[in-house]
Symmetry: C2
Subunit: 110 residues, 2 copies
């Protein structure tokens, strides 16, 4: 992320039920809505045995507003009723970060 620290990360880890009906559509819809939220900075997501979605936010207030967003509240209810066996949410302050880019190895030789 090209954002200066500190900012905030929400680490969402989950395991899914066998019921996937409507999940992909809801997930895509929530990603679109999150991008429209005040303070939204980005998102990383991957899934094998567990799913991990990390979303990034400018402030704790921005996270709270997204948690309370009405369509998102409905998605949370559906998630608990149908899609998730378990989930965990961690609210984190990103204190610092650094990157590695393989292409820089070549760029440095120029």
């Amino acid at each position: 992320m090209n954002i200066s620290t500190p900012y905030y990360a929400v680490i969402f880890t989950s395991t899914h039920t066998e019921n996937t009906e409507g999940y992909a559509e809801m997930s895509a819809k929530m990603e679109i809505l999150a991008k429209q939220q005040v303070g939204y900075l980005g998102m990383d997501s991957a899934k094998n045995i567990i799913g991990i979605t990390v979303s990034y936010w400018k402030s704790l207030e921005a996270i709270k507003l997204w948690k309370q967003q009405s369509d998102h509240l409905y998605a949370q209810q559906k998630g608990r009723a149908d899609w998730y066996n378990w989930y965990n949410v961690k609210i984190c302050k990103v204190e610092r970060e650094y990157n590695f880019n393989a292409s820089d190895k070549f760029a440095n030789k120029l």
Copy 2:
């Protein structure tokens, strides 16, 4: 995690090269070694287009010691030389967390 906050999380996101030789073995070895480190609390990992590994630590000092662990230093070098196109490391303070367990829905009805 059954750990009282605050503790620390390292969010490692990456994209891989096509060279996977030795990666799985190194990854498994590093997980074993991390578990032996002072202050190690746990790890979550998933991979599709990007890989996300989040490791959890008691303190910033524990994270620093793991970063400097000699076998891990070698793994980092190999990763930059062979396995990763790109990675990003975020050092985070986990301020609070909460869980959902589907099984509690039934437990609450007893």
